[in-house]
């Protein structure tokens, strides 16, 4: 790859990551400035201030009400690692996020690992003749689990005294199973796979040498999407399982109407989602080039 081409790819990847984030940040600032009560100082209600004093307070708050000024001052803060101060917790947002990121990271890692392992292995087992009789049971179980809200799955985990990550896995696993099962079955119907089977290739070799490689791009895309699903599941899970992670922080911020904190969490999660999706896109492209 030439330097110019590498530069072009890097610029494209960065712009597809940074531009949506900048746009999301602007939307977030717009939402904050439109929120009821924003830009109003409680000192305005204090009788001890004269009319002139109240007017001065209002004048000092005026720049905050301007969306563009607020946005650029927010960006300036972000470039210095300052995400503002949480109203509900009265602490810097960065500090709160740092404290809780590890808990959420562990929940996500456990959930994604168990969910992927279970979904992938069960979908693979459906392609093996010896185990294919169990497939209807897996389809029924995954269907039933898709009907359960993540909060209820978290409740089940609390009752069983299991790890919070298990509830995240209960949200991820059935989706991975359904998608992988469809992919593998479609792969199994392809002409070259049928031909290989007719020639007497074993189920394991069919799966590893023919079906997995053809399903790989879609599975990589699913890996990117599954991060987003897991992040969505992590809020009710952390709330119900009482784990001090970012999901629980977002819930507390929503209940306390702590918009600066909520917006920063939303932007952070958006960044993680975008990175996961772009990484999977790049991997798929790299695979495509290698195949060519």
């Amino acid at each position: 790859m030439t330097v110019a081409r590498f530069g072009r790819v890097a610029v494209t990847a960065l712009s597809s990551l940074i531009l949506p984030l900048l746009a999301a940040g602007f939307l977030a600032t717009l939402l904050i400035t439109l929120a009821p009560g924003f830009g109003v100082d409680e000192r305005e209600l204090d009788n001890r201030f004269s009319a002139e004093g109240v007017a001065n307070i209002r004048r000092s708050m005026a720049p905050q009400r301007n969306v563009l000024i607020s946005y650029f001052s927010y960006l300036k803060g972000v470039s210095h690692g300052d995400l503002g101060v949480s109203r509900a917790f009265d602490r810097p947002v960065v500090q709160l996020l740092k404290e809780r990121a590890a808990v959420t990271g562990i929940n996500l890692a456990v959930g994604l690992s168990i969910g992927w392992a279970a979904g992938f292995l069960l979908a693979s087992s459906g392609m093996l003749r010896r185990l294919s009789a169990l497939r209807p049971a897996w389809v029924t179980c995954s269907g039933a689990m898709l009907c359960i809200p993540s909060a209820l799955a978290a409740f089940a985990v609390v009752v069983m005294n299991g790890p919070a990550g298990l509830a995240v896995a209960m949200a991820i696993g059935p989706r991975i199973f359904r998608y992988a099962d469809n992919l593998f079955r479609a792969g199994g119907r392809r002409a070259h796979v049928l031909c290989a089977r007719a020639k007497g290739l074993s189920d394991y070799r069919l799966l590893v040498n023919h079906i997995y490689p053809s399903a790989l791009p879609e599975l990589i895309a699913l890996a990117g999407v599954s991060v987003n699903i897991a992040l969505g599941a992590v809020i009710p899970v952390e709330v119900f399982c009482d784990r001090p992670g970012i999901g629980q922080l977002a819930w507390k911020a929503a209940l306390g109407r702590d918009l600066p904190l909520l917006v920063n969490i939303t932007l952070m999660v958006t960044a993680v989602t975008l990175i996961a999706n772009r990484t999977s896109d790049m991997l798929i492209r790299a695979l495509g080039r290698r195949a060519l």
Binding site: P20, G143, C147, P149, P236, A253, L255, R257, L262
Partner: protein, 265 residues
């Protein structure tokens, strides 16, 4: 199995619609002499801590969830289909703009964004408004997949023979778009609609269980399930899971009915 599923969904739906006739009491009527009562002939699912009949609340809650989730799904489908239709037909910069906007919405985490939007709303909204707001927000954030699917379908159709013939006969662009192309997209829109319904039912359940969806005293499946936050209460009163069972029946039946459309994926 599809017939059984259809019967089950119909029974739940009709029962929910006829809640006024079937329910032994109103959803906010309090029986102050019998709070936290166990199931009995008078209260088939017992009463909650405020003495309200859980069975009546379940019937009214089913009506809220089963009427508003399809309404939100219809709104999301309409929004996504309109944007997808315009993007697919217009092409060029307008298509690019709509796609970027769609990508932006799709990349933002739905539940986190819902929290943010919900937190912006005034605190003193009535329960009725909170229901409408919850489902409207779900629709406003959930239209993106519909827009992409409809756009892809329009691109396939826009150069087909009947569209070219309509154009050659002098049909105006808006007529071609909304009469000829939109008519052929009905199956795609219907599929999107039925994919949205279970997603919105689950999202409402999650939001209301977290106390950020439908507010008291109005019942919904989600806020009825929020009683489970005290999980020790469930061990003594497993009938608290009745809304979850109904949710499972309805969503499971929808999966059977629309198995070929991959509901829930």
């Amino acid at each position: 199995m599809k017939r059984v599923a259809l019967v089950l969904v119909s029974v739940v739906f009709v029962t929910a619609l006829a809640a006024n006739l079937i329910a032994p009491a109103g959803y906010e009527k309090q029986f102050r002499d019998s709070p936290n009562a166990r199931p009995s002939r008078q209260f088939p699912l017992g009463t909650d801590e405020l003495g309200r009949d859980r069975f009546s609340r379940l019937l009214y809650g089913s009506r809220v969830s089963l009427l508003l989730a399809p309404a939100a799904a219809a709104f999301a489908t309409l929004l996504g289909a309109t944007l997808g239709l315009v993007a697919g037909y217009a092409g060029g910069w307008l298509e690019g703009l709509i796609l970027r906007f769609t990508d932006l919405f799709a990349s933002m985490p739905g539940l986190f964004l819902l929290f943010t939007l919900r937190a912006i709303l005034p605190l003193n909204v009535s329960p009725g408004v909170s229901v409408c707001v919850t489902f409207s927000l779900l629709a406003l954030l959930g239209w993106t997949s519909g827009a992409r699917v409809v756009r892809a379908a329009v691109i396939q159709v826009r150069n087909s023979n009947y569209v070219l013939q309509a154009r050659a006969m002098g049909c105006r662009p808006l007529r071609v778009l909304f009469i000829h192309i939109a008519a052929s997209l009905r199956p795609v829109a219907a599929t999107q609609f039925w994919l949205y319904v279970p997603v919105f039912l689950l999202a409402e359940a999650n939001l209301s269980m977290l106390g950020l969806g439908v507010t008291e005293p109005l019942p919904s499946w989600g806020n009825l399930l929020s009683e489970l936050q005290n999980y020790r209460a469930f061990l003594e009163a497993p009938w608290l899971l009745a809304p979850a069972v109904l949710l499972l029946i309805v969503l499971g039946s929808l999966q059977f009915l629309f198995a070929d459309r991959e509901v829930g994926q």
